[in-house]
């Protein structure tokens, strides 16, 4: 039941996020059906896809009526290609870490994706929520995700809402992951808000 509700929320919000990304990149963006799963805290560093690899991650704590943590995460290869779609000068792996314009560009892509996702939840539920200061981290994926556990110290299980987005017509997969971890209270707030709107 909770899972279905969250899936509905994730579906609509990711749609908004994918549209925003598509407008920014001037390319078609496809998204997978969002996956909603209940996890134990210990699972966070083990989540598949971004285990031991170095990733580019934009991380934003979410505040307001709905609190939680969001991540926009890509491989370094995808990060470089994304940046090259919005900047005139071609950049490489290292530039994303050291060249301020390149890292800002990636962070801005993350901000836009996260921002649209969060805004969509707001309009869908008539709740107020917004990302706090976002931060770009280039590091081992599992170590970055593990930091989200500090939002979850007092809970045993949490919902992870995850969607993969893909830039279409790119020969090699260009994939980004959008992760939302609502706090425990946030799940019931979302539930109440959505049920209220139903006859």
């Amino acid at each position: 039941m909770e899972q279905d509700l969250l899936k509905e929320v994730a579906n609509i919000s990711t749609g908004y996020a994918a549209t925003a990304l598509s407008t920014l990149l001037q390319r078609q963006v496809a998204m997978n059906v969002p996956e909603i799963a209940l996890h134990e805290m210990e699972d966070l560093p083990r989540l598949s896809g971004y285990h031991h690899e170095v990733c580019a991650t934009v991380h934003a704590p979410i505040a307001g009526d709905v609190e939680g943590t969001m991540f926009f995460l890509t491989s370094m290869d995808t990060a470089v290609r994304l940046v090259n779609m919005v900047l005139p000068n071609v950049v490489n792996d290292l530039d994303v870490q050291t060249y301020p314009l390149a890292s800002s560009a990636f962070q801005e892509i993350g901000n836009i994706v996260i921002g649209s996702y969060v805004t969509a939840i707001g309009s869908l539920t008539s709740l107020t929520l917004y990302p706090l200061v976002t931060e770009l981290t280039i590091d081992i994926g599992s170590a970055v995700l593990a930091e989200a556990t500090y939002q979850l110290v007092e809970v045993d299980q949490f919902f992870l809402m995850e969607t993969a987005m893909r830039v279409k017509n790119e020969e090699e997969g260009m994939e980004g992951f959008l992760l939302f971890i609502p706090n425990e209270r946030a799940v019931s707030v979302l539930k109440r808000a959505l049920e209220r709107d139903r006859p």
Binding site: E42, L44, P45, I140, A143, V144, A146, E147, T149
Partner: protein, 161 residues
């Protein structure tokens, strides 16, 4: 003999004897502590998340997440296996985010390292090697019977400590 390989996550622990590898990934602010006895060939690893169990707001909490309770339990576990003269190697305690973190957890990496160091001092367990602090995530492997700790960071360099 099949070599034993054990991987642990946050708030988990494992003890090995004689030969094998203990491993943990996703080490950001968390601290990985290995206690070992190289005479009796025992070693135990724990992945600690927070400095002090007294901060736990629930009565039923996982003691392996907190430095004080985790180290007390790991120490007891190793002594029960016959370990005596314990030594320690530690890694982790980075500050992964500069801004995007709740105030109370802002310096958590440094506080974790301090809590671990403090506990080990009180227990007269020497810290033989450490790779702590900084701003980078780590992956840690500890191998028996060499008792060497390999620490990998995003820059792909592997440190042996």
């Amino acid at each position: 003999m099949i070599e034993q390989r054990e991987t642990i996550s946050i708030g988990e622990w494992k003890v090995l004897s004689h030969t094998g590898t203990l491993r943990t990934c996703g080490l950001g602010s968390c601290v990985c502590v290995v206690l070992y006895d190289n005479t009796h060939m025992h070693a135990g690893m724990v992945h600690i998340m927070l400095p002090d169990s007294k901060q736990a707001r629930k009565t039923a909490f996982n003691p392996w997440r907190y430095a004080d309770t985790a180290l007390t339990l790991l120490h007891r576990e190793l002594v029960n296996q016959g370990a005596g003269n314990l030594q320690a190697k530690i890694a982790g305690g980075a500050q992964m985010f500069r801004h995007a973190m709740r105030q109370e957890y802002m310096q958590i990496g440094r506080r974790n390292v301090e809590a671990v160091t403090h506990w080990l001092e009180n227990a007269y367990i020497p810290v033989v090697a450490k790779d702590v602090g900084g701003a980078c995530g780590r992956t840690v492997e500890f191998t028996l019977p060499t008792f060497v700790m390999h620490v990998r960071t995003a820059s792909k360099t592997i440190k042996q400590i």
